[in-house]
């Protein structure tokens, strides 16, 4: 356990400083249930709202 945590600390210390932020590329669409079929490329250049929800 200790080695795992040390590993995380070390990894965090040596990372580069590129700009990373959550983007549409992080969206995994899943299985279509309703509406038209969407591909990841369809999301490019558009305003996209993703809502996690449930029927119950």
């Amino acid at each position: 356990m200790r080695s795992f945590m040390a590993g995380i600390g070390l990894a965090l210390l040596v990372m580069c400083s590129a700009t990373h932020a959550t983007s549409v590329n992080d969206i995994v669409l899943g299985k279509r249930e309703f509406g038209t079929n969407l591909a990841p490329k369809d999301l490019k250049g558009k305003v996209v709202m993703v809502v996690f929800w449930g029927t119950h």
């Binding site: 400083s17 309703f34 969407l38 558009k46 305003v47 709202m49 809502v51 996690f52 929800w53």
Partner: protein, 259 residues
């Protein structure tokens, strides 16, 4: 994204009764997201970056979405209608190479064809106004959300390459990147991205990642402890950054689990 494992029939019945005209999927996710309750919404801008995952309800949501739509390629072309310059309007919608399109439009504003000249003027004005608004919006955002502002400057500098807007955006980005506070924000953001990646690896119990569920904690204890340790490293190394804020929130949710 339906995430309660409902049947296709349940989803279809509900969507039809509510007149849903958008896409519904199941089994999807957003890498690095930390959804612990539903409904939970995420809004992404036309540049592909996350705008927010907070306050996306009611009037506030409408305001946020309206502001985001103004930056869309379709909005940047202006209201039209365009006949002679329809292909250029389509190019603007793609959001790529807007600097060269501005150059073309500038030439066409003095076209001998009156319709073409009028359309070029309308389109150029819309594009210039949209670009200026985005640049000013990013400048205003520098203090409140420096990382988003920086991403916007970088995006504008690529999108409008060849135009003065790109030059100004590029200068803003270069200045920001020299700022030690921004360097810390960037360092923190990179570290946080890594935490998000590890967070994705947590194994759900009955499809849910609930830190209050003892079975979930037991199953993921080692990873949770590592994640909390990582969050503490961020707070220590990059205090007063967005990443530190995220890390604190994360620990508040998971410390009973991963202490």
């Amino acid at each position: 994204m339906e995430c309660q494992g409902s049947s296709l029939e349940e989803i279809t019945t509900l969507c039809k009764s509510k007149g849903v005209d958008f896409n519904i999927t199941s089994g999807g996710t957003i890498k690095g997201s930390n959804v612990t309750g539903i409904p939970h919404a995420f809004l992404f801008g036309a540049d592909g970056n996350l705008i927010t995952e907070k306050g996306l309800h009611g009037a506030e949501a409408e305001k946020t979405v309206s502001a985001a739509l103004k930056e869309c390629g379709a909005a940047l072309a202006g209201p039209g209608p365009y006949t002679k310059l329809a292909p250029l309007a389509a190019q603007i919608k793609s959001g790529i190479g807007l600097g060269s399109i501005m150059k073309t439009l500038t030439t066409k504003t003095s076209s001998k064809d009156a319709t073409e000249a009028a359309e070029a003027t309308m389109m150029l004005t819309a594009l210039q106004t949209g670009a200026k608004d985005q640049l000013e919006g990013a400048i205003e955002k520098k203090k409140e959300d420096p990382l988003s502002a920086l991403l916007k400057f970088d995006h504008l500098s690529q999108q409008f390459v060849g135009d003065d807007i790109a030059k100004k955006a590029s200068e803003q980005s270069a200045t920001m990147r020299k700022d030690p506070l921004i360097k810390k924000e960037l360092e923190g953001a990179t570290m946080w991205k890594m935490i998000e990646g590890w967070n994705d690896k947590l194994k759900p119990v009955k499809g849910i990642k609930d830190p209050k569920d003892p079975a979930f904690v037991k199953l993921n204890l080692e990873t949770l402890q590592g994640l909390v340790a990582g969050c503490r490293t961020i707070i220590q190394r990059c205090p007063n950054t967005k990443a530190a804020e995220h890390a604190k929130e994360y620990i508040e949710n998971y410390v009973p689990a991963g202490k």
